[in-house]
Symmetry: D2
Subunit: 436 residues, 4 copies
């Protein structure tokens, strides 16, 4: 396809060496498309940039011989914009279907297809043997896409939502035009959870009223809200034959969640939604939707009205190419260690201050009870340049995901993928100073 003719410009041995080095460099790029799976070892940024550049040179707006008389021709007013979309000015998707090839953009179409291929192999390597699509919108909007697909395919008109206090999924239900039926949480010692029986009751009631319910369950959340028992919910959805969407925003980074997902996948799960930024270390803007059910994923893709900015897809591809599988596995391992460190430090602090670490099953986040106003504590930490901790009053129904009073005031800290141990140590130290 491409050949640099340096023949006769150098002594033969240098010419050969030059070609050999160039070959070996370009081979790394070729291999991406030869394999279409996540590389074991990441590529350096230079190689990724060349690769993306070459792909974008397949799009029609880059055609040096094109005559453009359409109404949208990827025209831009500044080179900055080209950089912002990695050259994919025509975006991704077409009006028919998000993952359909876009005739004006063969390069962007290859890029998107490749991202989905690599994503599939990435998830498989983590133990998730599923179909998947990268979505050009973040978790909330991706949930809306799934709910819309559920309505389209199964006439779902009400989303049964075991209560978790996050606005985005709640708004996603509303955006997709479904009614929401909350199922209240209960207190199980420290943990706030939803009784699976209550979910079943909700399903029955809706069916009785001739509605078509689906369930939007929550796998990943902050303490003291524990994960929904997605395996049991999946069983019930199976039994009642109703769609089941799982909000697994942070699910990919930790085996705890992956195992839960695999158990649920044995029963009814139509789609899981995870965040690209929370799991794949991308900037905010993309989502990952995956499922054993390929047809449902197609339906999700089909729901998207029109084309979308290519950037969220490119950032996912870049993450997978630049990290490679090995680096990601290493990050997962470090996350576990950091979580352990955070646990130890908070336990130590709790003992010294007559508090306790909340007893919640969560492989990422931890809560510690505090004597004084937790909101003020979080505010003080914010002013000390600690970003991330949440301070929640026992009476804060929204924060606690619990309609009654929670037994404690507490502060939540996280050891999510990518966190640095140094930051954990300093954060707990400053928390200590603030509450002492």
């Amino acid at each position: 396809m491409f050949n640099l003719n340096i023949n006769g410009m150098l002594p033969k041995n240098m010419e050969d060496r030059g070609k050999l080095i160039l070959r070996d460099n370009l081979k790394e790029i070729e291999e991406i498309l030869n394999h279409r799976t996540i590389p074991k070892n990441g590529l350096d940024d230079e190689k990724i940039k060349i690769f993306l550049k070459l792909l974008s040179l397949m799009d029609t707006d880059k055609d040096p011989k094109a005559i453009r008389i359409g109404e949208r021709e990827g025209r831009i007013s500044s080179k900055i914009q080209e950089e912002l979309v990695s050259g994919f000015c025509h975006g991704v998707g077409r009006s028919g279907n998000l993952i359909d090839p876009q005739p004006k953009a063969p390069g962007a179409s290859v890029m998107y297809k490749l991202t989905n291929n690599i994503l599939k192999s990435f998830l498989k390597n983590l133990g998730l043997n599923v179909y998947s699509i990268a979505t050009p919108v973040a978790t909330g909007m991706s949930i809306a896409l799934c709910l819309s697909a559920a309505r389209k395919k199964y006439n779902s008109n009400v989303a049964i939502y075991p209560y978790a206090a996050h606005k985005s999924p709640i708004k996603a239900v509303s955006f997709a035009g479904l009614r929401m039926r909350l199922v209240e949480t209960k207190l199980y010692e420290d943990a706030v959870k939803v009784d699976v029986g209550d979910i079943e009751d909700a399903i029955k009631k809706e069916i009785k009223s001739n509605n078509n319910p689906c369930v939007l369950s929550t796998l990943t959340f902050f303490p003291p809200r524990e994960s929904d028992d997605i395996e049991e919910i999946a069983k019930i959805c199976d039994e009642y034959n109703i769609p089941h969407i799982i909000n697994g925003a942070y699910a990919i980074q930790n085996k705890f969640y992956i195992n839960k997902l695999n158990k649920a996948f044995k029963y009814r799960v139509d789609a899981v939604v995870s965040s690209s930024d929370k799991n794949l270390l991308t900037p905010i803007g993309g989502g990952i939707v995956y499922s054993k059910n390929k047809e449902f994923l197609n339906e999700v893709s089909f729901c998207y009205p029109g084309r979308a900015c290519a950037t969220p897809i490119v950032t996912m591809l870049v993450s997978m190419l630049s990290l490679g599988l090995n680096k990601y596995l290493e990050l997962m391992k470090k996350q576990k260690e950091s979580r352990k460190l955070l646990n130890n430090l908070l336990k130590e602090l709790a003992e010294k201050t007559n508090n306790k670490v909340l007893n919640i099953k969560n492989p990422i986040s931890l809560g510690i009870t505090v004597g004084s106003n937790p909101v003020e504590i979080a505010g003080k930490l914010y002013n000390l340049r600690i970003t991330g901790p949440r301070g929640i009053m026992s009476s804060d129904k929204f924060g606690n995901c619990y309609l009654g009073n929670y037994p404690y005031n507490y502060v939540v800290m996280n050891a999510a993928i990518g966190v640095k141990n140094k930051d954990i140590i300093v954060a707990v130290e400053r928390l200590k100073n603030v509450i002492s």
Copy 2:
């Protein structure tokens, strides 16, 4: 805020000159935030890049002193990703509201606010005295946001849609969970249009059935479908007190549409949706929603579930800063001239080949009848590297937006903003060769 201390490093007059030149350069950047309106003359890319870089250095993920223990901290795996989002790794929006400031991202929040300010002043300069928001999704999804807001605010459950054959708005209705009621088009000589009376009838029927209709009208489309009479529709919506959303995908680039919009704005228009790429020369991915009704726009913004990728917003800001008002007005003028040129060339060609240019009111696109198979003609043009022409069979109900048979086979060509006269000339020449 910032000072480069070069004191004593150069002879005084050179030091002063250096500071003066730097001052005058930085002043252009400062003026952006001092004025918060569209500049008369565009800025060069270097200045825009520095400006965006400085804004992104306000975000918490750029804080050199921050300790990060949240679950999403704008962590990324490659510098490429930072470039792809102009440094705004935290995206835009927060779970509460798309246009709300995001506490983790003061810089991105300023960027978004500024974009909306400049957008307002840009539209005002074009004669559109409206409120507006830049949306991080393209036209189709932006229409879905508006429909969702209509349901939220007015309980709209059915969208009355004067038929126009574009999949994106149709899917937007579906995505937002509204039922769609099509109103059929009729033939008025060459033009395909919807009778306003038929729209009124549709409204009445829905109201009678105790539904809450809204109208999704179409301002910009391909020949032979003409613009909906949005003024009359706005009057009717006023009368029946029902929401009215206008799909004005290409509306901003031509006074013909702007005048129509201003007439409609006297009555009921809840929101107009325009494309950022079709009007503002950005890559695909953003939308512009505007209205006299500020409250409704807030509702639209409120519908968005979660945060979004910053890139589509940044590309709009870049377009407005790099073009400036004068350059945009010049582009509008050129678009008019190009449209005239296309008209003349097609008329000439029509005369020579016993065809005719369709008599359709459209300030951008033109249709010419053809003797042979128009789909094949478009295919041949595609192979000749002409991108954009549409060839439609008289019997193609979807393509013609007309359920009966349209009287002609025809080919459509466009003189949209940014088109080059050279391309128009070559395109018509090649069309001539193909049909001769």
Copy 3:
């Protein structure tokens, strides 16, 4: 050499189209090395960047399989540095010879060879049928290289220099370790020139004293110093068999100089030195040395002690690739027109103010007499942000290149290649204000 395997990822027609567009894009890059001449039409920056990137991926410091245990391995501390040398961390040249291929840098060696090839074809297209080398140092140091080569090859030990008041060539003589023998200028009406007979006398004297003189003549200078009569000097050098180096700093941009050079080339010219920045619109730092005498150029190249930064060479290559021949010819044409405009405006101003435009043969620069202190005038212009004018007192021996008193105070302005007519107009206007 390289193939992107997108087989089966898209519908066949899109796959073909994508490959075709990529092919046509890459072809522009391939053609550079297939032709190795200046392209008629320039390439866009993106293509040039990819091309340079691919070349740099041939250098051994980019070898992904290399084991590095040398003492200089192109190691760098920051990616910024790689950008600053276009990836050519090993520089150009080797200790043996500047234009010899560098075994550690096949890519940089190709780049340098190609630059010289293209330079040759560029000069040929301008009418200069010569051998040439791009030097990684600016005019002054390039003159030193030529003088050093003259000493090496012909034992030259004294440079006969028809006086022109520019420090760089004077220092070049000194740097190369030759003695300088000035030949004084004389006044011919407005013009300051050197009598060719005086040059011959100087040669004779030096030969008589058993020295080996060479001549360093000046083709391009500011009014009122006119060009040396290089044809006559070349004849004399021929006759006495002594080396002749021509300082033609601005010579390439105007046919006036090119014609003079071609006349001189019939006799003895060992090398001409031109500036890359003054003629080729590069940043400062490179030189162009050319001659009919290939052997002498090799000697020049051989004189350079060690390797050099690749950047000055790359900037020349970039200029030639980005402009292309047609754009350069157009710039030359514009330069002529701008010079005419400057002449007309200054004549007009002279008439109005009882001054005169100096009658000097110079196709770029013009001098106008002034009544008041010209140094103060230039200072005022500098403060008005006019860069470039020189104000010279009649008594300034250095500025005038004349040891006696020059008849006028005057100000010099230039219409060099790349100047904008707008700037000429404003500059003369402000001059008018300053002297009125």
Copy 4:
């Protein structure tokens, strides 16, 4: 000087936070010019880029209000060129003096001055309390500058050169127009060295013939050539009052050399030349000249004919800013360890293969004797992608720096600053395979 007015765009606490983060980011940049010394900890590339950009915005070719009618106005034909010189299109230096401020380029002048300031503080931190200038040419040409200065200041006309087989310094002598007088090496067991008495004899002879000799000694070289005894040479030069230039190409990276330099500095050393790429991890192209004698350095700077490309200076500044002192000290420490590792591995290999490691005082490079043809061995290693080893025949007078036969065939390997232990291990392994 600069202020981003975001007042009123965000809630007050977010506005304050945004400003605070921006402040803290910009402060790192401000501190560079406030301190003008090498920072303890390096800055990230983003900060360095902004800093360089701001400096370049002081140059007159960036003046948005300038009217340009000079003959060289920093005009360029492509943005690529601007990147290649970090925006400093006017280069560094002026015709009068390399380190003089350039009136057209206040920004580049500050950049150059700052580089020299930081360089001085960097050297001081390494124990070299000297004056210094960064030169825009590599070691060879920098030596030529020093020799030219010696001639200018002291009428030196012959360079006494204790023979070391490196072409660049030899050509530097020639380029500067001095005669070279070689002093032959002798064999001291494994080591090849020059007898200081022989140097003194050479000085005497030249003085006797009424010449003005200077000495160009060599501090850093490959085994088996050992360092010249620069302390003793400096004493002799002191005694005879003749200039002494030291070629210390790799001297800065190791205390062994720094200590030797400090001992020599007590006597006569006019200038030491070190390489920027070999010591400071820059791409090839710059030099470092330093001395206790500030006046002589000025003379060196004064010798440069004209301006030069800014890039070699910028790369030095970037290295010092990006590494910071701590990282450099760490690299020095690692270099020592790597040298020890190389020594151990080669000793082990020597024992196994009946060879020996040459007994040469050299803190960077090591030589191992080999039984078979060393040139072939090096060739095989080159083909195995090992870059850097030198294989020298006992009979190769140039390679050995010795006019007689050296007792051994040998291969040289280096553990220079920046080398990776992994590479050392693999290189010795492959050497083992090749010689076994």
